[in-house]
Symmetry: D2
Subunit: 296 residues, 4 copies
């Protein structure tokens, strides 16, 4: 097989990205930006806002590591001591160029998996796609076409607990950072969900909260809606109730059958899922309560 | 007060518009178009489709009346005898240029009423806007600004039945063809609804079936949706469950407060309502079951 | 390599599809539908309109062939004699289930080709994808991943005329019905274009007529537009001036670099191109002058 | 005439808003936020980014004035001395609750003026709408309906220079902050434009840069586009070439006449213009070169 274009690695030293939230108080941005400036960092972008209804402060800041006085491994420690501990802050610092390890769970519909593998292989996302897991064998050809490892763990022959134990073993063995449910049709149990908090992204084939649960296109048809949609969201224990990352819609009409809606919906699903994944990979999402802050 | 531009009346004799549906069978379009052709009519547009899941035929046909051999008053009779009676057809024939008599029901929010009255006064819609009814006095200034008759029927001092009786008396007295609920915040009783079947259009401030009922923007905020929407639909006895005519959405983000969503939503509401009304006025809507066929 | 799902062939006898236009006159729809009805056809859908500015009649009609009295091969002849010859009609009759032979021309960008091959392989389009032609070797891996034949005809070493002669020989040898330019970066000469009238679909990476020609994303960035778009159109001799089939846009902002616009644009391009191709494959497009009628 | 709802004034002391840009260097955000923090200000929102292609820094920061140690009148002076002078910064500080004085220029089309006056009168925008100027008398009724002062300055009887002199005298006499061209059909001369730099907002009835100049809907029809749009932009000396604030589109089809496109376009125009005006009034726009930064 001929070679795909090699992925362009971002040149070291790259940048650091802070995502944080805490109760609002005066001086937070000043403290954070002074911390960056005093240590020689140049801020590339900063977005901050206060949700006044709940009095909470949210921030994303990215600064260049070239010339930054604290070495990469100790930035977190310094930030914790000087800023986070004093302010009750929930925070994470990431670094550009980190290649996240990704697993994709699928069932029988190929469109989202095809789209994801195409993006990975053509270098749009710099991720390490380690696993494709499925409860059905049908999509083996997709993984194979892109040279991705495919594991078929059938659901029927074992208990849900056994299935999840097998899945978790594979995911942990591959040190997975992000799990993508690309039209995976089984419901994840609480054990699975809690193993990857805010690190499982699902695509639901409706404009949530409309048509939660099964067969949304059939129900959209029956209700006679004039737009159909898709929603990318983080998975929580409650089905289709997790924090929304991205949504979009496409116009439908009375001439469209359930089959038409399904086909048209596939395109919205794959694009909305890809946008949700991109935001996550770019460290632009921050979950608080049941809402996702998506920085620009 | 200076004069608005006078409305351009469409020149007689105009056109006839057939809206019809019946169980599908061979030869329906041929029979209908032959009826038109044999009587000298020139078809301007024809849209027809068969919903194969339910085996039902739907059609909208418009033809020029100039040179048509049957006089306007007898077209229905002829059509009934030659076509409709043999096919179990539900049908209506309308004529271009008929000015429909319209009533608008409002409560306190002015944006939809302002938009409707602006369209009427500037000649976009050729309707006879006979009544603005409200359960509150606040929007009297809007009606007054456009010279529309405003009736304040307060809800508090009387029973819902009494209120509706008063409303119906006014509507019947004015021979109203179409009732528009332009953010009217009371629920209509079955007596009112059944008095205007498929002739009451409501704007609901959400993307139905998401957020039926009260305070949809508050609930959209709480759910953290990334799009907010509005839905124009015919009113049936079940709240927010009637056949949808038109929907649209606008992008929202985490920085938007409930107040922001409300403001942004107002623009979607007024545009979606206006599109729904336009389709109805143009005789482009046909209700079957809980779905609206909206011809192009 | 494991097997993709086998494509579901539509069951014979399927349906016939008429696309036609002619100067408007009375009785056209009646004549056409009577022709279908008298011969035992059941019309599944019919869309017709008259462009009154130019006095021209356009129609698409689809009817079931089951029970139709004229055999498939002689329908055209009958239609021509009874209808077309009398009315100066331009017309074509197609049959559902015909698998069109398709060639895709590409250069270096993989996203549209990946999307097309994914749709073909997963059975969304029932086409016979016979050739992928490129003036560069880079996308051989894409064709290979999906088992599509790839031909590399480099441009540099020969004259444009020679290159086109080589391309045309391949296309004719494969009896190609439809040529798709999936971000093919060379301009086709008049000889190529005239060999496939209304059968070459190009995707241009801008909202035409804005940013015709080269580097539209760079120019969109420089102009500071707030939406970027893509356009699928039939190719004519004038660059980027052919009849438009489909367009769509996506929102951009000041934070987006040219690289961001390019990435975001790729998603719009592939979806818009796919919609354009679908409409063509479904025999829902009809070109008149420089406009495309796209039936619903 | 009955009373519109009184506008809710934001409670003093409100907030201060900084809009600024300068060559990028380290420490800019830290310096700005320290200036705010040291003087007791609580930052409500901050958005900053660096355009790396041109090495330029852009910021919008809003902070509460309650408890701020510098009095409102001297904030600018302090900011200039401590920050701006050292960094070559272009900047402005605004205060929430400032009511801008607005003039609207119109010709004959009422839809944008109606929409603007409705928003002002119902309290959506807290502005002082001082003047409606027109080169035609037709829209006097609109201004009158909303109690807005209307001035008819006809173009025909005087030279363009005389007309502009008359307009500028009125605008200066009313101390106008913002001029809105609400489908004003004359071209402004350089003298007018330079009198209100970055303070004239025009709505153009196309998706710029497509269809600059006259009769865009006719040309959109002729080109057969599948989407029509509108663009709100700041006016510069070059017609339709100024920095874009907002754009949107609506889907069109082959059945739409020029008249249909015009009607459908009116809705996009009024909404896009209103969004552009809102961003400007909220001090969320910053012009650099020919691009508008529109903060979220």
């Amino acid at each position: 097989m001929s070679e795909p274009p090699s992925r362009v690695e971002k040149p070291a030293p790259g940048s650091a990205i802070l995502l944080a939230h805490c109760p609002d108080q005066k001086g937070l941005v000043a403290a954070i930006t002074e911390f960056i400036f005093r240590n020689g960092g140049n801020i590339l972008s900063l977005e901050q806002h206060v949700d006044r209804e709940i009095g909470r402060f949210f921030i994303r800041a990215e600064w260049e590591l070239g010339g930054f006085l604290i070495e990469r491994e100790r930035i977190g420690e310094g930030f914790k001591t000087l800023i986070a501990n004093r302010t009750g802050m929930s925070w994470r610092i990431y670094f550009s160029g980190e290649r996240q390890r990704v697993a994709v769970l699928v069932s029988k519909a190929p469109h989202c998996l095809l789209d994801i593998l195409a993006r990975v292989r053509s270098g749009e996302w710099s991720v390490d796609l380690r696993l494709v897991l499925s409860n059905h064998p049908e999509l083996a050809w997709v993984a194979e076409a892109f040279g991705a490892p495919f594991h078929h763990l059938p659901a029927g022959s074992r208990s849900p607990e056994d299935l999840e134990a097998g899945q978790l073993e594979l995911l942990r063995g591959a040190e997975i950072d992000l799990v993508i449910l690309a039209r995976y049709m089984l419901i994840l149990g609480p054990g699975f969900v809690s193993a990857f908090p805010e690190r499982i992204i699902n695509i639901h084939h409706s404009f949530l909260p409309a048509f939660t649960g099964a067969r949304p296109y059939h129900r959209a048809y029956a209700r006679g809606v004039k737009l159909i949609g898709a929603t990318a969201h983080y998975v929580t224990e409650e089905l289709d109730e997790g924090p929304i990352i991205e949504q979009d819609v496409v116009r439908a009409s009375h001439v469209n059958t359930v089959g038409d809606l399904t086909r048209m919906g596939h395109d919205v699903e794959k694009i909305v899922l890809a946008r949700g994944i991109s935001r996550h990979l770019d460290r632009k999402t921050l979950v608080y309560g049941n809402r996702t802050i998506v920085f620009t």
